[in-house]
């Protein structure tokens, strides 16, 4: 009897221990998964093209002699842009109006570089109603538009627009295509954005490229997040 009781207790003890161990493993697995996701997101984080900084600094350097006032305002613009990348870029989500301000600074500094050789239309919402977005998603499309959309042989344009509409944020970015840039491949930056969006939104977003002979169109539709983005979507 005593023996039986002892055996029973041993079995129960084992059962409880393995039950708790199971829980522990589950927790650890979950932690690991989260950590893994975090690392992937970190890895995919937008990094601004270093040439953008160097070329912009070069133009400001020239402006110091030519137009000191514009040089000053460009430095302010560049510093706001850098602050955004350095401090907002790390957060999971940020208010949309910060992101649209950032895009305005970015385009303004790009206009400095290209002057009149490209027509840039930027239509961003003034009121963003507390919408939260992941930082630095849109800029990689705009960056690509400048990279591929500017020609001196043909008229060039870049059109960027964004609107919030019934629970959706619709972002469009179009640029002129040119025979002199036969290679439209959008590189690792674009691939990273797609993977990042996959991790953040799962299948609840739309990213569509429309490549016509003279226009390259990007359509991105994100579900609107009125609050902070919850945990990364299950994959």
């Amino acid at each position: 009897m005593k023996f039986l009781l002892g055996l029973l207790m041993l079995v129960a003890n084992f059962g409880v221990r393995s039950y708790f161990r199971g829980l522990e493993n589950e927790q650890r697995m979950e932690d690991l998964e989260k950590e893994n996701l975090h690392q992937q997101l970190e890895y995919l984080r937008y990094q601004i093209n270093p040439h953008f900084f160097m070329n912009t600094l070069n133009n400001i350097h020239a402006l110091v002699d030519i137009d000191p006032e514009q040089a000053k305002s460009s430095i302010v613009e560049l510093s706001r842009l850098m602050r955004h990348i350095l401090y907002e870029g790390e957060k999971p989500t940020i208010p949309l109006d910060k992101e649209t301000d950032f895009l305005r600074h970015y385009v303004s500094l790009m206009r400095l570089r290209y002057a009149d050789s490209v027509r840039v239309d930027l239509e961003l919402p003034e009121e963003t109603g507390g919408i939260e977005v992941p930082p630095l998603v849109f800029v990689s499309f705009v960056e690509n538009a400048f990279k591929h959309g500017v020609s001196y042989e043909e008229p060039s344009f870049i059109r960027v627009s964004m609107q919030a509409d019934s629970g959706k944020l619709i972002f469009k970015c179009a640029n002129s295509r040119h025979l002199t840039h036969p290679d439209d491949s959008r590189g690792i930056g674009q691939e990273n954005v797609r993977r990042r969006l996959d991790l953040l939104y799962g299948s609840s977003y739309t990213l569509h490229y429309d490549v016509r002979p003279d226009v390259y169109d990007v359509l991105l539709v994100l579900p609107v997040l009125p609050e902070k983005l919850p945990e990364p979507a299950e994959s």
């Binding site: 070329n55 070069n58 002699d65 570089r113 290209y114 001196y152």
Partner: protein, 241 residues
């Protein structure tokens, strides 16, 4: 003068480049081009010694443009890139200017261009056979041996001297004062006849109205303060009235 083209698609960057070129006295800007296409057009009708060219441009990159040239002139790349540096040396770039760059950086690159230009345009091939007596001159990039008896005349231009050597098309240009060279040359054979001229007396062909000819189509003035000494020399050599 070294003839150059400035090529950059960004208007401000081009303007800056042009202003730097204008500040370097030995550079002569042929044209400022906003694209490689424009530069190619200029190159088809103008002689150009050096291109200052941006690498990253729409349509045709500076690198592709340079590679497409059958006989490229000297190349100085201006770029925000740095990883292209290695590739650049494959196309024999003289130098790289990483944006943003200052006037001093530009001057350094321009001086490298000048060294190469000078060495290609001053084939000083003086025979070492007649090693009677010679002077070695340090020019910017090498040491040149000039036999004293081949010196026809020396011309001063600010801090430089142009040494005109018999049988050489181009003078040897050295950074040296007239006084220093005058002291080194044997006074029995050379005479200072002007603030800016030393001549070899053996090379005098004719003297007329205060001017001395030491070579065909070279007629040098005799300066006021040197006239007396020069006339004394002539008197001593003079025969007949």
């Amino acid at each position: 003068m070294i003839r150059c083209l400035a090529i950059d698609d960004e208007p401000l960057a081009l303007r800056q480049l042009v202003s730097y070129i204008e500040k370097v006295p030995f550079l002569d800007l042929v044209a400022a081009c906003p694209s490689a296409v424009k530069a190619r057009e200029i190159l088809s009708r103008e002689a150009v010694d050096v291109l200052f060219v941006d690498i990253n441009m729409p349509d045709i990159s500076g690198m592709d443009f340079v590679k497409s040239l059958a006989a490229p002139p000297m190349i100085v790349f201006t770029t925000a890139y740095s990883e292209y540096a290695v590739e650049g040396f494959k196309v024999d770039a003289v130098d790289y200017l990483l944006k943003p760059f200052g006037l001093d950086d530009f001057r350094k690159a321009a001086n490298k261009v000048k060294k190469i230009f000078d060495s290609e345009h001053q084939p000083v091939a003086i025979s070492a056979a007649d090693s009677d007596d010679a002077i070695f001159f340090k020019t910017e990039y090498k040491v040149v041996r000039v036999p004293i008896d081949k010196i026809v005349y020396v011309e001063g231009m600010s801090e430089y001297l142009k040494i005109h050597v018999e049988g050489e098309k181009e003078p040897v240009i050295v950074l040296l004062s007239m006084k220093k060279l005058e002291e080194r040359l044997p006074s029995s054979r050379f005479m200072r006849i002007h603030k800016s001229y030393i001549i070899c007396l053996d090379k005098i062909r004719e003297v007329s109205r205060g001017r001395v000819s030491v070579a065909p189509e070279v007629s040098l003035p005799v300066g006021d303060s040197y006239r007396e000494a020069f006339n004394q020399y002539l008197d001593a050599k003079f025969l007949g009235k």
